[in-house]
């Protein structure tokens, strides 16, 4: 049972030694090879994509790349994808559908990049297209939030059959800092906003967004990256083998309904 506050978890997630997809991919998948480019504009280093084996099952892996050093982060734009990153993700997802490979999305982003170039190339359209296309992608899709699930930039890789979260990961519609600056015109009140927004894995289980919490080692994944990777591996093997047995029509219906039923209102 994780008794940490949202803010304490955010601090763990921001620990500079927290494992990233660069640690997890070699530990979880074998014979992984990276595929580059969206075939439209370029290649976005903020998202890694490729194929490999999960146990003995060929899968497509799509992952948002946080860096550990400033240099790494410069290269991957602090894991804030541009439209071409999302379009690469969709290209690889479609390829996975064609070859009947399950898709594993590893989510770890503060959000989609906000900049002139990103707007010019249609950040909104790129995300929207992913939401629509992943919803009917005829192959199992499993998403795992590793650290930060930042708004639409995370959701674009999280329209899936099952969503898991590492126990200290967060997933939010807006960054606590952003919320604080809108609410109280004071970005430094992000600690309060973090609690208010209900962004922990347990919160998201309650809302039906998260389906499974993957426990991290005590103190966070950085204290024992191998153990964290093992836990993710075990979950993925289990989820993929379960989802592969679901008839396609049922899988599509379940995925639609997973999102269809989220919402709170009276009538």
């Amino acid at each position: 049972m994780n008794n940490l506050s949202a803010w304490e978890r955010m601090e763990i997630v921001h620990n500079k030694n927290r494992p990233t997809v660069n640690d997890y991919i070699p530990a979880i998948f074998t014979r992984f090879m990276e595929f580059h480019g969206d075939r439209l504009f370029g290649d976005d280093a903020a998202i890694i994509g490729g194929i490999g084996f999960l146990s003995d099952v060929p899968v497509t892996v799509i992952a948002q790349v946080k860096g550990k050093t400033l240099d790494e982060n410069r290269r991957t734009n602090f894991s804030m994808p541009h439209p071409e990153g999302y379009r690469k993700a969709l290209r690889l997802a479609k390829q996975a559908e064609k070859f009947h490979r399950p898709v594993i999305c590893l989510v770890d982003t503060p959000g989609a990049y906000c900049g002139i170039e990103a707007e010019k190339r249609g950040q909104g359209e790129a995300i929207a297209k992913n939401l629509a296309e992943f919803m009917t992608l005829k192959t199992p899709v499993v998403s795992v939030v590793l650290g930060e699930g930042g708004s639409g930039g995370a959701l674009a890789l999280a329209v899936c059959d099952e969503l898991a979260m590492l126990s200290n990961a967060t997933y939010s519609v807006i960054s606590p800092r952003g919320a604080a600056s809108i609410l109280w015109k004071d970005g430094t009140k992000e600690k309060e906003a973090a609690e208010l927004l209900k962004i922990t894995a347990e919160d998201l289980m309650r809302f039906g967004v998260c389906d499974k919490i993957i426990n991290e080692p005590d103190g966070g994944a950085q204290t024992n990256p191998e153990q964290a990777a093992d836990s993710i591996y075990e979950y993925l093997v289990d989820a993929v083998s379960r989802l592969k047995t679901v008839p396609m029509e049922q899988l599509m219906e379940n995925r639609y309904n997973k999102f269809r039923k989220i919402g709170m209102f009276t009538e």
């Binding site: 990103a118 639409g152 519609v173 807006i174 999102f259 209102f265």
Partner: protein, 296 residues
């Protein structure tokens, strides 16, 4: 094209004033009560409110298509008496117990005469039947929470079942922060409903009005078979201030305008308010939908 060239091209379109606008009074020194005046947020021109309203709330000087209430939009779009509302009784709850959220919603319900930031229903436009959605930015900046997401989803599901086209007048500040993660999920939910309508062969026309931003741009608003925008309106994903803070420089005024988006390839056509009914009905006609006789 590099970004500077792009801005030049967009600027040329943006300042193209060949819309028959005449010389207008801009006497700001005269003492007139503020509610009798309209000050254009784009060109800062000041006009008598009557004149602005008679011009369908389009700036007589720069052609900026200002925000409408849902009633105004409906009246300008649907055939008289043809509108049948859907799901009008849906009301939001407070999923993350956000302070004073209910209070804020209640105030908007009173002021806007609708239970939420979108009104959906069925109507005819010059005799062509369709499902219509109208977002009203006066209602919490038409942010998308559970009710907005549910109404849009139901509208598309209804249209799929009835084999009707959908026309969405989009306007939004984005996802509704006050509903936390639940609001984010409405992006997936609505996009899924659009996809199923599309897979069933349904026609969806998105009409982007001022302002179409954030999570709405990043979901159903960008998924139309045909994307129309009104002149000079704001369309974008990220907020202007967010980008300015990131790049630490001022953005040109026409950044994220309808004209900018068309130049970038995300808008099929920019349509003046006065021509909208005709354009929409022609699109429906071109897709083989039958024209209904009046009174049927």
């Amino acid at each position: 094209m590099d970004i500077e060239e792009l801005f030049k091209v967009v600027k040329a379109r943006f300042t193209d004033d060949s819309h028959g606008s005449s010389e207008k009074k801009e006497k700001t020194d005269v003492e007139i009560p503020q509610d009798l005046l309209f000050k254009c947020p784009r060109c800062s021109g000041v006009f008598y409110n009557d004149e602005f309203v008679n011009n369908k709330k389009v700036c007589p000087k720069c052609n900026y298509h200002a925000r409408l209430t849902w009633q105004e939009r409906l009246e300008m779009t649907a055939d008289e008496g043809s509108f049948i509302p859907l799901d009008e009784n849906l009301r939001s709850l407070n999923p993350i117990c956000f302070p004073r959220y209910e209070e804020k919603v209640r105030k908007c319900i009173d002021e806007c005469e609708t239970n939420e930031a979108i009104v959906t229903g069925e109507c005819t436009i010059r005799g062509y039947r369709c499902v219509i959605g109208i977002m009203d930015s006066h209602f919490m900046m038409a942010s998308m929470g559970s009710v907005v997401g549910e109404k849009i989803t139901r509208a598309f599901e209804y249209a799929t079942k009835k084999k009707l086209p959908v026309i969405m007048f989009t306007a939004s500040g984005g996802a509704r922060m006050q509903e936390g993660i639940v609001s984010l999920m409405q992006m997936a939910k609505t996009s899924g409903a659009v996809k199923l309508h599309s897979d069933a062969g349904g026609l969806y026309i998105a009409v982007m009005t001022d302002p179409t931003t954030g999570g709405v741009t990043a979901s159903f608003a960008s998924l139309g078979d045909i994307t129309i925008a009104e002149p000079k309106v704001l369309i974008g994903f990220a907020g202007r201030r967010v980008i300015q803070d990131t790049i630490r420089q001022r953005l040109p005024d026409d950044f994220q305008s309808a004209e900018f988006q068309q130049e970038c390839g995300f808008v099929d056509m920019i349509v003046e308010r006065g021509m909208m009914r005709k354009r929409l009905s022609n699109i429906l006609k071109l897709h083989g939908f039958p024209k209904e006789e009046k009174g049927k």
